[in-house]
C-alpha cells in the first residue's frame, strides 16, 4: 500500500499515472513504467455517469482519466493498459478514451447500478462487490499451468449473477482477446534465459562489454504497485540492434533477445 488515507486524492492518482511528482517523492510511490509495460488499473467505489468518487469529496471525471491516459501514451509509459472499473454505471468512465493499446471493462452500463456481494457481520459493511467477487472466482478456478485468455475472463461474467451488464471496450486494443493470456495483466510471466556469464553491475561508459538487461512486465493495482527494475544501457542497444529502424525506443524485450542471439552467434 503506497497511498492511503488522506493521500488518496484525484491529484495524487493523476500524478501517479502521468509521472509528474515532486522531486522528493520516493520511488516506491511512483509508477516506474516504460514503453514495454503492461499496466492493470483497477478502480472501485462509488461512481456514476462519467465520474468516480474519491473519498466522498472529490470526483474523477472520465475526460480527466482519458487525458491522463493520453499523456501516458505520449510519454511512452505503457504498451498495454487494462482498466477495470467496478462502480455504478462503470462503463461510462472510459467513454472518452482514445489512446491505442487500452482495453477497458466496467461492471455496469449507463443507467445500471453495480451491487455488492455480501457483507460481514463483524465489520458491519459489505466487503466485496459482485464484479470483483466474480473476477476473483474466475482466477481461483484457474490452473496455474493453464493458459486462460482474456476473452474467457470477459465472457465469464454472468449478467444475472452480477445484476448488471459487464461491458468492455476493445476498439482501442489491437490484439484479439482470444490470444491474450490473462497473465498479460494479472501476474507476471517472464521469460528467463539462463546465462553462465557473471552478472555485471551497470556501467554507462563501456560500449565494448556485453551487459545483461532485464525488463519486467509490470502490473499496477489501484493502490498496490510492484517495482519496475530496468537496467538500461543506451549505447549497447544502438550498437547491437540489427534492424536499427527506430533507433532509441525499441521494445526492450526484442532488443534483449537480439542481443542474446548475437552473443550466441
Amino acid at each position: 500500500v503506497d497511498y492511503r488515507g488522506y493521500e488518496v486524492t484525484v491529484e495524487n492518482f493523476l500524478r501517479v499515472l502521468t509521472g509528474r511528482h515532486e522531486t522528493a517523492v520516493p520511488r516506491s510511490k511512483r509508477l516506474l513504467s516504460d514503453e514495454g509495460s503492461h499496466i492493470l488499473l483497477y478502480m472501485t467505489g462509488h461512481g456514476g455517469d462519467e465520474f468516480l468518487k474519491f473519498q466522498d469529496s472529490e470526483e474523477l471525471q472520465s475526460h480527466d482519466l482519458a487525458d491522463a491516459v493520453k499523456q501516458m501514451k505520449e510519454k511512452h509509459r505503457f504498451k498495454e493498459l487494462l482498466i477495470m472499473v467496478d462502480t455504478c454505471q462503470a462503463a461510462t468512465l472510459f467513454n472518452q478514451l482514445q489512446s491505442p493499446g487500452v482495453l477497458a471493462i466496467g461492471s455496469s452500463m449507463k443507467g445500471e447500478n453495480s451491487y455488492s456481494h455480501h457483507l460481514d457481520s463483524d465489520v458491519g459493511v459489505s466487503v466485496v462487490d459482485r464484479f470483483t467477487y466474480y473476477t476473483l472466482a474466475f482466477f481461483e478456478r484457474l490452473n496455474i499451468y493453464g493458459n486462460a485468455s482474456l476473452s474467457s475472463l470477459f465472457s465469464s461474467y454472468n449478467p444475472s449473477l452480477l445484476m448488471s451488464t459487464a461491458y468492455y471496450r476493445k476498439d482501442l486494443y489491437k490484439r484479439r482477446l482470444e490470444e491474450v493470456p490473462v497473465t498479460n495483466f494479472f501476474g507476471s510471466v517472464m521469460e528467463t534465459i539462463h546465462t553462465d556469464a557473471a552478472y555485471k553491475a551497470l556501467s554507462r561508459r563501456n560500449s565494448g562489454r556485453f551487459e545483461d538487461e532485464m525488463s519486467l512486465d509490470q502490473s499496477v493495482h489501484h493502490i498496490e504497485k510492484r517495482m519496475l527494475i530496468k537496467v538500461n544501457d543506451g549505447e549497447e542497444i544502438h550498437d547491437s540492434n540489427p534492424e536499427g529502424e527506430e533507433g532509441a525506443c525499441k521494445c526492450p524485450w526484442s532488443t534483449f533477445r537480439n542481443k542474446f542471439q548475437k552473443a550466441e552467434n
Partner: protein
C-alpha cells in the same frame, strides 16, 4: 532519529509511568517522528522534508504530511535530546496496520521467519490494548567510546496483551479471583523454535517489577516465615506464588535505586539453547492472587478541552500526584524548599489560535501568579498557515503538591475550503503534549558479576497526554452548488421575463392571417 507508530493509548494508571519501559515505549497515538541533524541550520528544513518523504515510501504511511512547516516544530530544550537542530512532528490520526509492520520487520535480519520475531502473529498483536513499533537510529561519531563510526538501529515493538482468562481459570477453584496465567503459546499461538542465525545474541527477558517483587516478598514472608529471598534462590521458579515453565539461565537483581527500597528481578533466557526439537515457551502459572501497583511517574498528566461552541475554548493540562509520589519525596520532603521540576512541551496547530497571555496556573486549586510557578517559558506563536504554536515550559512545583492545572485559552480559526480534509466534521487533532520530569531518570541498572548493564542511558521520565479533538466550524460544502443553481435560476427568470415583455405581441398570428 526516532520514528514510532502507535495504536492505542498507554494506560499510565495501570501500566506504570516511571520505569524505562513506559518512559521510552509509551508513545503518542499515530506517528511520531523526531530527528536531530548534523548540518548547517539553513539546510535542516529541506533535509527534514526529504526525510519525511523517504520514510513514507519505506513504511507505507503518510509520513510525508509532516513535510509542511505547519506540521513540525523545533523544540529548543524541553524535548530530549535537546539541541538546536531537532525537528519534531507527529500525526495523531495515522492508522497503524500490518502494512506498516511488514516493512519494519523487513529491517530485521531474519524478518519474522526465525528467532524471537517468529512470535509475531498479527492477529494476536492487533488484538491487544496497545501496540507500538519504534525505530531508533543513532549514529556514532568516530571515536566515541572506542566504537567504530557507524549507525546503530534499535527496533522495539511494544505490545500490551491480555491473556485469555478463561483458559487460566480452569485449573483453579472459581471462588478465588486469580490473575490469569499465560504462556507464549497461549498469547501468540506460537513458540520460539531457535534463534536467528544472524543474531549475535538472542535472549528473552522476564521482568518482575518493583511493586510485584515487594508484594511477593511480603506474601512469602507471611506464609513461609523464612528469611530466604525465594525469587533469586535456586528453587525460585517453583515458589508459592507462581511457577515458570522454563528455567532461566541467569537472574539479575536491580541495583536498588535511591527512590525505592524495592528492586526488580530480571530473568534471562538464552534462546541459543533451544531449537526446533525443543522450542522455547515461557509460561507463568499463578498460584496465589497478587495485586500490585506499577510504579508511576511523580505526577499523572491529563489534558482536556474546556468551553463550548465553535468560536473559542480552552486547553487544560492537569497534573495530579500519584500514590507513589510519597515514596519519591519521602527522602527530602522534610526540606521545605523541595521542589519538583516539570517540563511541558506542547504544539498546537495554527488554526487553534492560542492566547499565551491567558496562561493561568492553579496549584492545589488555588490560583497562583504565573511567575511563581513557571521558571522558564519559551513560546513560538503560530503564524496562520505557516507554523504551529509551540509552548515550552518549566514549572517548579512544591513537592507536596497534590494537583496542579494549567489553562490556556484559544480562538478557533478558519480554514480555506480546499484545506478541509474529507471528514472535516469529525474535528481536528491537537497532538499530545509531553510532560517530563528531568529530576528523575527512568533507568534500571542490573549488575552481575561481570557488571552487565541494562538500559544505561539517562532519559528523563516522560509521559504523553491525550490527543484532543477540536471541532472547528466547517462550511456547508454543498454551498457552491446551491449558489450556482440559485443564481442561474434567477438569471433565467429575469432574462426570460424581460425578453417576453419586450418582444411578445399578443394574438399577433391571428392578426397576420386576418390581414392576409
Amino acid at each position: 532519529m526516532e520514528l514510532s507508530f502507535t495504536q492505542g493509548r498507554w494506560n499510565y494508571e495501570s501500566w506504570g509511568g516511571f520505569d524505562p519501559i513506559p518512559s521510552s515505549n509509551a508513545k503518542p497515538p499515530g506517528v511520531e517522528l523526531w530527528a536531530v541533524f548534523d548540518a548547517p541550520q539553513h539546510l535542516i528544513d529541506a533535509l527534514w522534508k526529504n526525510l519525511t518523504h523517504t520514510l513514507s515510501g519505506l513504511f507505507c504511511a503518510s509520513i510525508n504530511f509532516l513535510e509542511s512547516s505547519t506540521a513540525y516544530s523545533a523544540p529548543e530544550w524541553s524535548f530530549p535530546p535537546a539541541s538546536g537542530k531537532l525537528r519534531y512532528g507527529t500525526l495523531p490520526r495515522e492508522a497503524v496496520c500490518t502494512e506498516n509492520l511488514t516493512p519494519w520487520l523487513k529491517l530485521l535480519p531474519c524478518r519474522d521467519k526465525a528467532g524471537i520475531s517468529m512470535l509475531l502473529d498479527r492477529p494476536s498483536i492487533y488484538r491487544g490494548f496497545y501496540h507500538s513499533q519504534r525505530l531508533h537510529l543513532t549514529s556514532t561519531g568516530s571515536g566515541s567510546e572506542g566504537m567504530d563510526p557507524g549507525i546503530i538501529l534499535e527496533q522495539t515493538l511494544t505490545v500490551v496483551l491480555q491473556p485469555d482468562s478463561q483458559r487460566a481459570s480452569l485449573a483453579h477453584a472459581s471462588e478465588k479471583h486469580i490473575q490469569p496465567s499465560w504462556s507464549l503459546s497461549s498469547i501468540f499461538g506460537k513458540q520460539i523454535s531457535g534463534r536467528c542465525v544472524l543474531a549475535e545474541t538472542s535472549n528473552v527477558y522476564f521482568l518482575l517489577d518493583r511493586g510485584l517483587v515487594a508484594e511477593l516478598e511480603h506474601i512469602h514472608k507471611e506464609n513461609e516465615k523464612s528469611e530466604e529471598n525465594v525469587l533469586i534462590s535456586e528453587k525460585f521458579w517453583n515458589n508459592p506464588s507462581f511457577e515458570l515453565s522454563a528455567k532461566p539461565d541467569r537472574i539479575f537483581i536491580e541495583e536498588s535505586s535511591l527512590l525505592s527500597k524495592n528492586a526488580s528481578v530480571l530473568y534471562k533466557f538464552e534462546i541459543e539453547k533451544y531449537g526446533e526439537s525443543e522450542p522455547f515457551d515461557l509460561g507463568l502459572f499463578w498460584k496465589t492472587p497478587v495485586v500490585w501497583l506499577c510504579q508511576q511517574a511523580p505526577l499523572h498528566a491529563n489534558r482536556f478541552l474546556m468551553g463550548s461552541g465553535n468560536e473559542r475554548g480552552a486547553i487544560a493540562i492537569s497534573l495530579k500526584s500519584t500514590q507513589s509520589s510519597e515514596g519519591f519525596m519521602g527522602s527530602n520532603s522534610n526540606d521545605e524548599r523541595c521542589e519538583l521540576r516539570v517540563d511541558v512541551f506542547q504544539v498546537v496547530p495554527w488554526y487553534v489560535k492560542v492566547y499565551f497571555h491567558s496562561l493561568q496556573v492553579f496549584v492545589d486549586q488555588q490560583p497562583k501568579a504565573v511567575s511563581d510557578i513557571i521558571e522558564k517559558i519559551h513560546v513560538s506563536p503560530s503564524k496562520d498557515k505557516v507554523s504551529p504554536g509551540v509552548m515550552e515550559l518549566v514549572l517548579t512545583l512544591p513537592c507536596s503538591v497534590s494537583s496542579a492545572v494549567l489553562t490556556i485559552e484559544f480562538d478557533k480559526g478558519f480554514l480555506h475550503i480546499d484545506e478541509y480534509p474529507p471528514d472535516a466534521n469529525q474535528g481536528f487533532d491537537i497532538p499530545s503534549a509531553i510532560v517530563s520530569f528531568p529530576d528523575f531518570h527512568a533507568r534500571m541498572v542490573f549488575l552481575e558479576n561481570d557488571s552487565l548493564n541494562k538500559s544505561p542511558e539517562k532519559s528523563p521520565v516522560m509521559s504523553y497526554t491525550e490527543v484532543l479533538l477540536v471541532p472547528l466550524t466547517t462550511p456547508d460544502f454543498s454551498m457552491p452548488y446551491n449558489v450556482i443553481t440559485i443564481t442561474c435560476t434567477v438569471f433565467a427568470l429575469y432574462f426570460g421575463s424581460l425578453l417576453n415583455a419586450l418582444r411578445r405581441r399578443v394574438a399577433e398570428e391571428e392578426r397576420f392571417l386576418k390581414d392576409k
